[in-house]
């Protein structure tokens, strides 16, 4: 199994790499200031990759390729499919915004494709080094994208922070992985899993290694106490890039968490679960409390992300109970459902921030949303759906995400986990306050800015679809839940 190249396993990545190069070249010959050919070529490429991912997911098989360096399984392809969709939606929302801010260049599209390639590589990694490779490819592209608006102070500052802290996090992760390698003698996830399973490995080295790995992952997920970069980068980066950072990369971070911690180190679950509980509760407390104090919407959403990721991590903490992995599939698929629906909702919230921005005006203060229900009832309604979903109020999809995680906790039947569920619920009540406050601003306050809302037709249509999806998955969440469960079950079986 491990000595073949098996090119079939990496077709999506090859296609993505090829198209990223083609887009870079084609753009040189594009004279249209709107960069339409580049834009459409990029969208078409991602759509093709998405279709490929979906076809692989439907196939439902697990294949190892490149001498066991990569794996192609339903988990990777489902998340890959969602990552592609998220990126396409991001590009639709971003186009008018970057067009009016001197960012509409070929680099934007090429770098986006490269970051998507990095995500794709991470999703199918079966080896420590491949995980790292994908992570760096994605991160470097995103650093460059953050800095793309050269003459804009805050963006440059955000890019600098993002780069320094991101590099530090990568260092942590790499250091942790090297310790795991030193202890187990392998970089291959399955080999590491087996080596840990033998119980012959020096436990202390493993524990120190896993502390560093969890710290690195915590950085990437933006969990407390490794969250410092999140608010600054979210606020400072051009909103279009914020959306690129807040969307698909969260899926990738979730995927490598599963690959490293579950597929590689499930034997150490008792140890990393404890760490994740601390990260998770810390994130929910700090994220929710700090979000209340924000007046900048992008910063508020950044803290909200921290809190939401904390809630998602809860799902990962309940997989192994008393050394028993029976509830693992349930727990991990709940977390996966959470992260997928979170990305879906986040796309819409930042999409609206993008839409309300105009030439020379950023609609990123909460007060910029005042009276939106009068200026545009439709868009205000869509935003309200997103907010109620983030707050976890039915009938939106955010409710089922929270429900799935809570039932994973309660079904362990361990008192500690049930109390954890109670704590999570009470903290999400605090969260509800600031989400509902935005609804208040949109519906109850008088508009300060009475300029009519101009929205490109495609942006408006995709936003409406986005809102409809949040509502539709809230009324019929069964299908998406089943897909996540199927992907996780297959990933655990292999």
């Amino acid at each position: 199994m491990n000595d073949t190249m098996n090119w079939l396993a990496v077709y999506p990545e090859i296609l993505l790499l090829g198209m990223a190069c083609v887009v870079a070249l084609v753009d040189l010959f594009v004279t249209d200031p709107q960069r339409r050919p580049t834009y459409w070529l990029t969208q078409a490429s991602i759509a093709a990759v998405a279709a490929l991912h979906l076809a692989y997911f439907e196939g439902g098989f697990t294949l190892y390729g490149m001498q066991g360096m990569v794996v192609t399984d339903p988990l990777g392809h489902l998340l890959g499919f969602f990552a592609c969709i998220a990126t396409m939606v991001t590009l639709v929302y971003a186009r008018p915004y970057i067009g009016s801010r001197d960012m509409l260049k070929g680099e934007f599209f090429t770098l986006t494709l490269f970051s998507l390639l990095g995500i794709s590589v991470m999703l199918s990694a079966n080896n420590f080094l491949v995980v790292y490779l994908g992570l760096e490819l994605m991160s470097l592209s995103l650093y460059a994208l953050t800095a793309l608006r050269r003459d804009h102070g805050p963006s440059t500052e955000a890019a600098m922070k993002y780069f320094v802290l991101g590099a530090l996090a990568s260092g942590f992760l790499l250091y942790g992985l090297s310790m795991m390698y030193g202890a187990t003698g392998s970089l291959d996830l399955a080999e590491v899993f087996k080596a840990i399973g033998t119980g012959q490995i020096n436990k202390q080295v493993l524990i120190i290694g896993i502390v560093f790995v969890v710290a690195g992952l915590g950085f990437k997920l933006g969990a407390v106490p490794f969250h410092m970069w999140v608010p600054d980068v979210y606020q400072g980066a051009p909103t279009a890039v914020t959306l690129l950072i807040a969307g698909a990369p969260k899926l990738a971070a979730f995927a490598i968490t599963i690959r490293l911690l579950v597929e590689g180190m499930l034997g150490l679950a008792v140890d990393w679960q404890q760490m994740l509980v601390v990260l998770s509760v810390g994130s929910m407390v700090i994220g929710n409390l700090a979000a209340i104090a924000q007046t900048n919407l992008k910063r508020m959403l950044a803290y909200s992300t921290i809190a939401q990721m904390g809630f998602m991590l809860l799902g990962l903490t309940s997989g192994v109970v008393n050394g028993n992995t029976l509830s693992a599939a349930n727990a991990y698929s709940s977390a996966m459902f959470y992260v997928v629906t979170y990305v879906l909702t986040t796309l819409g919230t930042f999409g609206l921030v993008l839409l309300l921005a105009r030439q020379g005006f950023e609609a990123e203060e909460i007060s910029d949303f005042a009276g939106l229900a009068r200026r545009s009832p439709w868009l205000a309604g869509v935003m309200a759906i997103f907010m109620f979903s983030l707050a976890g109020v039915p009938p939106t999809v955010g409710f089922y995400a929270k429900l799935a995680v809570l039932q994973a906790l309660v079904s362990t039947n361990v008192a500690g986990y049930i109390w954890l569920a109670v704590v999570a619920v009470l903290l999400s009540l605090i969260g509800a306050y600031y989400y509902v406050r935005l609804v208040k601003v949109m519906y109850f306050d008088e508009p300060v800015d009475t300029t009519p809302v101009h929205a490109a037709r495609d942006v408006r249509a995709v936003l409406s679809l986005n809102g409809a999806a949040v509502l539709l998955f809230g009324i019929l969440p069964g299908g998406l839940m089943a897909m996540c469960a199927q992907a996780i079950v297959r990933a655990l079986a292999s």
């Binding site: 109020v393 409710f399 429900l403 609804v439 469960a485």
Partner: protein, 491 residues
């Protein structure tokens, strides 16, 4: 699609359509569409009572389809004697609310009507859901339209009131969510309420469940001391919002006690009945006195609602046929009466733009027709025999006497306090000499206002004179519920 599904989804779909395509330029079309939808929504609920089999406690008009297969959640609807009248009440009050807003709401009419129609469908869903999660979804979803209604069309402190309403009720119901998930796990993967009724549970688990449900339902009822959101919400909400809050939303909580707390945790319910009874008595006596000193008419009626709902919870937790049935009758009649009281205040407010009792006096001189109706509702509110308000209170007191005379005696003070605060308000607002120029300039109710008040007056009178159709429907279900609660589930 069964009748219940139509009763739920018809108003929701109509409301969503109004939200999507209604415009203020076509406000009249929006109003007529809303009225049509409300009447149609009511019409489909009528066969629920006419076709109701009063000889069985089993669920009727059942619909049962898979919904979320991964968690074995089902789209399971049905009504029994405990819930069927609330479905009708909800649909009926929705018609009244639509009529009451006719000339009053002139801005964002489609959003106002749409919110109320959606709210109506959701509340019917709460009363007919037989799946725990489905119940929760409807129960929680009602917060969204009510939050918007209070916040957009409310009074000066509407933002504060809307937030208080939203966060208070959300806090309570989130604890219930944990309880539901726990029951799901304990019952081996079922969200069916009827399965949970049969589930044996140890006392410690029952106690925790009981208090988790208590958190959700006590806030909603609302019981003392978690009632403080209600006066704020009532005072700030527009008339329609107050009517729906008082007439139906409070009943969601009391209904929850009947459907969840008592049958799922019967041992804990008996164990902690003293606690509920104590809180109910405080609500009846203390809140009755609080109502007495209110300056604002809406606040007065809000506190009177808390006191009346105290009667309902008292009736439930003395575990006696008559008292439980009395509690349910009281809920229905309070739905009509308190709704009507808020409409009366709305009628005055639309003309004078004040809710202060002191701003009025001698209204009967300028609005004789209106005053007659208003005084009638006031009488019903203090439980005059012959009105709906009397039947429920009488049944509860009678049932309670069988359990404990002193509790009944304390509860019966409501007849004194209720009469005191209501009649004193009536005296100051309606009777006496014309107090000021505002009152002198008042025009009597128009045909629209008269129609909605008269409809309610007929309902109140009917319940007072001939309550048999109401009690007949619930008798078997109440008996069955009490038989169930009497059996221990400890082993």
């Amino acid at each position: 699609m069964g009748l219940l599904s139509v009763a739920i989804w018809l108003p929701i779909v109509a409301g969503a359509l109004l939200l999507a395509i209604g415009r203020d330029e076509h406000a009249d079309t929006v109003r007529w569409t809303a009225l049509g939808a409300a009447i149609a929504g009511f019409a489909v609920t009528v066969p629920l009572v006419t076709g109701f089999d009063t000889s069985t406690a089993a669920m009727q008009f059942v619909e049962n389809l898979p919904w979320i297969e991964r968690f074995n959640v089902r789209y399971h609807l049905g009504v029994d004697g405990l819930s069927v009248w609330f479905v009708l009440l909800t649909a009926f009050i929705t018609i009244i609310v639509v009529i009451s807003a006719w000339e009053v709401i002139t801005e964002r009419v489609n959003q106002y009507m749409g919110a109320f129609l959606i709210l109506s469908g959701l509340m019917v869903g709460v009363f007919s859901a037989l799946d725990g999660l489905l119940f929760y979804v409807f129960f929680e979803a009602t917060l969204i339209p009510m939050y918007i209604i209070i916040g957009v069309w409310g009074g000066p402190r509407r933002v504060y009131a809307a937030f208080k309403f939203f966060l208070y009720t959300l806090a309570g119901s989130l604890l219930m969510l944990i309880a539901l998930v726990y029951l799901y796990y304990k019952s081996g993967g079922s969200f069916q309420i009827l399965d949970w009724h049969k589930l044996p549970l140890p006392m410690s688990a029952q106690a925790l469940l009981f208090f988790a449900f208590f958190a959700a339902f006590a806030v909603k009822v609302p019981m003392w001391p978690v009632h403080t959101w209600l006066p704020d919400a009532h005072v700030e909400a527009p008339t329609g919002g107050s009517v729906v809050l008082a007439a139906i939303m409070l009943k969601l909580g009391a209904y929850g006690f009947l459907r969840f707390s008592m049958p799922i945790a019967p041992d804990a319910s008996r164990e902690y009945a003293w606690f509920i009874i104590a809180l109910s008595l405080i609500a009846i006596v203390y809140i009755g006195l609080v109502a007495l000193v209110q300056q604002d008419m809406k606040k007065l009626i809000a506190y009177s609602s808390v006191a009346h709902m105290g009667f309902v919870t008292l009736g439930f937790f003395v575990f006696n046929d008559l008292a439980v049935a009395g509690g349910i009758v009281q809920m229905i009649s309070h739905g009509f009466v308190s709704g009507a009281m808020f409409l009366c205040i709305g009628v005055l407010y639309d003309r004078v733009h004040s809710r202060e009792i002191a701003a009025y006096g001698g209204v009967v001189n300028t609005m004789p027709k209106f005053a007659a109706l208003a005084v009638f509702f006031a009488m019903a509110n203090c439980g005059l025999p012959g009105t709906g308000g009397f039947v429920g209170e009488w049944m509860v007191i009678l049932g309670t006497v069988k359990t404990n005379f002193w509790i009944a005696a304390l509860a019966a003070t409501t007849l004194v306090f209720g009469a005191a605060y209501t009649l004193w308000m009536v005296k100051r607002v309606y009777f006496g000499a014309v107090a000021n120029d505002d009152v002198k300039a008042l025009a009597d109710v128009n045909a629209r206002e008269f129609t909605m008040l008269a409809l309610l007056a007929l309902a109140v009178l009917w319940m007072g004179v001939y309550p048999k159709p109401f009690t007949d429907v619930m008798n078997v279900s109440v008996t069955e519920l009490l038989r169930h609660v009497a059996v221990s589930k400890l082993n």
